[in-house]
């Protein structure tokens, strides 16, 4: 699966939950121009692995990133793109992570992507949206994000809505039951 995650708000809780689910079902890569993900890698590297997830932080286009790392799409079961200004070809799913009101530029970009875009709304403004996965951006959520980055361990995100929403959204595409997807999303690091 190739998943594009868009939106100008901080999308890390969504991306980490995605990685947690996807890494259980195959080789995963995360490509982003967000420097924050470098924290997941050793010694501030721009390319490397956290557990078995390949992470590349670069301003290059998706094709150029593949060239840089020396792999192709086929080398990965799943690729997550968190790149703001480029649209990789053949995305199987587009997620739009919303914070406060969406600005004009973001809206135009989403129109360019076209097709079906699944919205995930982080309820900073307290206004939930129909058809979106509405997530409370409470402090335990961000504490877990910090924990994931500091300990470099994919801990479960403490958001029922996010986990349930992603389980419903991805289970069939991953060929598993929703319950199984939810179990993976919520299971703790057992070592």
């Amino acid at each position: 699966m190739q998943i594009g995650v868009y939106g100008s708000t901080d999308k890390r809780p969504v991306v980490y939950a995605l990685l947690k689910l996807l890494q259980a079902t195959g080789d995963v890569a995360l490509f982003s121009n967000n420097r924050h993900y470098k924290r997941l890698l050793e010694h501030g590297q721009s390319q490397g692995h956290m557990a078995n997830v390949m992470i590349a932080v670069s301003d290059s286009s998706p094709d150029e990133i593949f060239e840089e790392i020396g792999y192709t799409t086929d080398d990965f079961e799943h690729v997550v793109f968190d790149i703001q200004d480029t649209i990789p070809g053949e995305l199987s799913l587009v997620l739009h992570v919303k914070g406060y009101a969406v600005d004009e530029e973001e809206r135009e970009f989403l129109e360019m992507i076209g097709g079906e875009v699944k919205a995930i709304k982080l309820l900073y403004d307290g206004k939930s949206e129909r058809e979106a996965i509405n997530v409370q951006p409470h402090s335990p959520l961000w504490r877990t994000v910090e924990q994931i980055e500091a300990l470099r361990v994919l801990a479960p995100l403490p958001s029922k809505e996010l986990n349930r929403g992603l389980a419903v959204l991805l289970a069939s595409q991953l060929g598993m039951k929703q319950k199984s997807a939810l179990t993976i999303l919520t299971r703790r690091w057992r070592r």
Binding site: A24, T25, D27, H49, V53, M54, V153, G175, M176, S180
Partner: protein
Amino acid sequence: MRIAVISPDRKQGGTTVSVLLALALAQTQNLTTCLTYTGNDSRTITSFLGIKPQEDRTRSLTQVIKLLEANAISGNEIVDYCTKVPGVPNLQIIETAADSITDEDNAKLLRFAIENLSHQIVITDVVTEIYDEITGSVIDNSDLVVMVISQSRDIAARLKGWETAGVMKYLNQKGLVFVCNQYDPYVEAFRDTTKRLNLRHRRCAKISYNPFIKRTSNTGKLQTILPPIMNKDPRVIELHNDLKECLTVVLANLGRRTIWPQS
């Protein structure tokens, strides 16, 4: 097609990988598969699968050896001495070890079995040392060698030793693929493991560490792990993709395509 499963060091999980490969080949690819093993004192493979020693005297190994020596057994009759693995259609095992037979007889019987078994896949778990005669004979008769390794640093040293001794060259000529057993992503990413060990990543697959492997093998029910793996049970979900990768690497090197059942 004959596959030899070897490991550069003891206790790497060669038997576990042999059984998992055999189970997956028999169940997902519908290939008639037979498991064999070298050595006269190892019963691990049968204990993993809950197979009890045969009581039938007419099928005793001493009897088979006598028939072999008298040239009174033909190649296609060896199938009659195979035991079905309980609960797994397509998978059989041939026991070639017993207290009542010598190591020489054991080797003779194993050689005869490997040469004559008519199964589509014959997997031999090589527990004897690499320089033993029977190991050489099994490898010579194989179409592919699967080397079971782990993420331990000792393995790198062993592989280096084998490289110097020319063993790797010999194995590579036969066709060599690697399976990293008890793989843990938090020890090291798989790409980093293969890079560190100087192996071609495309010839490598992994079996993630999972407590259910040990649990089922300890109770003699290792075969019961396959249905949950195929059903993507969250407890063993990583093994779903791992097994698929293992089969793809193994079968591709045997010139076959893997048809993986869709869940």
